[in-house]
């Protein structure tokens, strides 16, 4: 990943985090909120791999926690794991597959919500499982609607990495 790409990725996540906290968090549709930051992070991780996904998730989460004066590190923790996991999927089985962004967004939306639920539960805070489960389907639909334009934008912004730039750590055992 070049320095220019790094700056572009940082700018992308910064704009997505600010937009998420200031604009998209107000758009409640059937109890769900479209997550432009999560979709941007998924697109970035798919195109640039697990390390960029994890680091991007960590700092984007810090921005969200700082902007909303929430518990520091909480969103970072979940987004770091989400970025890393999607990055690994992109590096291995998700390469060059047209459905990869949509599949990743759908799965990560569920895991992100459940991850937040678990973290809040562990911290002894409000963890309304019923509300989260009810909002899962609308959240997936909303995020899937965002996926195509955001993935196209990120792909345009960041040139797809050459195969040898991505980690190729699928080793056959035996």
């Amino acid at each position: 990943m070049t320095l220019g790409d790094g700056v572009k990725a940082a700018a992308l996540l910064f704009v997505a985090a600010v937009a998420q906290v200031s604009i998209f968090s107000q758009l409640h549709v059937f109890g769900a909120v479209p997550d432009v930051l999560l979709v941007s992070l998924v697109a970035l991780a798919l195109l640039r791999g697990s390390v960029v996904g994890a680091v991007g998730g960590f700092f984007a989460g810090l921005l969200v926690d700082t902007a909303s004066l929430g518990t520091m590190g909480l969103t970072s923790l979940v987004l770091t794991l989400a970025g890393y996991w999607i990055g690994r999927y992109g590096e291995t089985t998700g390469r060059d597959r047209g459905h990869a962004p949509f599949l990743s967004v759908a799965v990560v939306t569920v895991l992100y919500q459940l991850g937040l639920l678990v973290v809040h539960f562990v911290l002894g805070e409000s963890a309304p499982a019923g509300a989260v489960v009810r909002s899962l389907i609308p959240a997936i639909v909303l995020n899937l609607i965002l996926t195509a334009p955001i993935y196209a934008l990120v792909r345009r912004l960041l040139r797809p990495a050459a195969r040898d730039e991505l980690s190729a750590e699928v080793q056959l055992l035996g």
């Binding site: 906290v21 109890g31 937040l116």
Partner: protein, 301 residues
């Protein structure tokens, strides 16, 4: 031949790949550990400490970007609101006309009662605490960030201690109670909403004068009026206001008379000691653009 053992060649090591995998895992583990450390520190001291100061400074630095984003989105929001309001305008108009007729009669009655009460207070030299809204001045503030998921019951506003906001200042809209200022920075504050599980508000039913209930969030996430004995009478549609009393168990921070919500259902079971009262808040907590923080005119109340 088939039975003969085949010497399998030793797998070729990939030192560079193994090293990069190790580095990758180390980075992720490191980030997770840092995140966990931040969560621990932040959770242990949510309103004080170095991390809190850094977060406050970061929030102040991000505020211009948030305001810019909100301004950019404002025309789109206004357009959506206009379309949404036009579609329901006709039925709403008829409903509001009917409500206006009822409220006009009620207002005349209330004005007469208030005048009478004022005269009686004057005759009796009645001493009382600051009440809403006369004893307070409003610090009006824009909402800069909103709860984005079911776990968050707070929002951030663009007014802090420099504007006079203090910790535990009540926050309202023109419709009713919103919550309380739970974290105050020089330029921003966090408002914990009425729907937060930690929020308890002593309430008074202004129709029946029942004043033994506490408004807080119930198990299903709905707002309930708790601890009302079954012997007392509360009915659907009753309006609740803050009671302004001081309870030994729940420190009441709200002055008397702030509208909270309307009773939406009342139930009772044989096994429960108290009534099961659900209510709908007057303030639209999910779509707040601006709020007013109530600051007492006198420094001590």
């Amino acid at each position: 031949m088939l039975a003969s053992s085949v010497q399998r060649s030793k797998p070729t090591p990939y030192p560079s790949k193994a090293r990069s995998a190790l580095i990758r895992r180390a980075i992720v583990v490191g980030l997770v550990i840092v995140a966990l450390a931040l969560v621990t520190i932040s959770f242990r001291s949510p309103t004080a400490g170095a991390l809190h100061d850094v977060q406050g400074a970061g929030s102040t630095a991000l505020r211009p970007f948030q305001i810019a984003a909100t301004r950019i989105a404002q025309p789109f929001r206004d357009g959506y609101d206009w379309v949404a309001s036009v579609s329901s305008a006709k039925s709403e108009n008829a409903h509001l006309k009917r409500e206006l007729r009822e409220l006009r009669l009620e207002a005349i009655h209330n004005r007469a009662s208030a005048l009478k009460a004022q005269q009686l207070e004057s005759l009796l030299h009645f001493q009382q605490r600051a009440t809403f809204p006369n004893g307070y001045r409003a610090v009006n503030a824009e909402v800069t960030s909103f709860p984005s998921n079911p776990f968050t019951h707070s929002l951030e506003i663009a007014a802090g201690s420099s504007a006079g906001v203090r910790l535990n200042s009540p926050v309202v809209t023109r419709d009713g109670l919103v919550g309380i200022a739970s974290n105050v920075e020089p330029q921003t504050s966090v408002v914990t909403l009425l729907t937060d599980p930690s929020t308890y508000v002593a309430a008074l039913d202004i129709q029946t004068r029942v004043r033994s209930g506490m408004v807080h969030t119930g198990p299903g996430g709905t707002l309930i009026l708790d601890q009302v004995p079954k012997t007392l009478r509360i009915k659907d549609g009753d309006a609740l206001v803050t009671d302004g009393t001081h309870n030994a168990r729940y420190r009441d921070l709200y002055p008397y008379g702030i509208p909270i919500g309307r009773v939406s259902s009342v139930g009772a079971t044989d096994t429960a000691t108290f009534l099961q009262v659900q209510l709908q808040p007057f303030a639209s907590l999910g779509s707040l653009d601006a709020v007013a923080v109530l600051v007492p005119k006198k420094p001590h109340r």
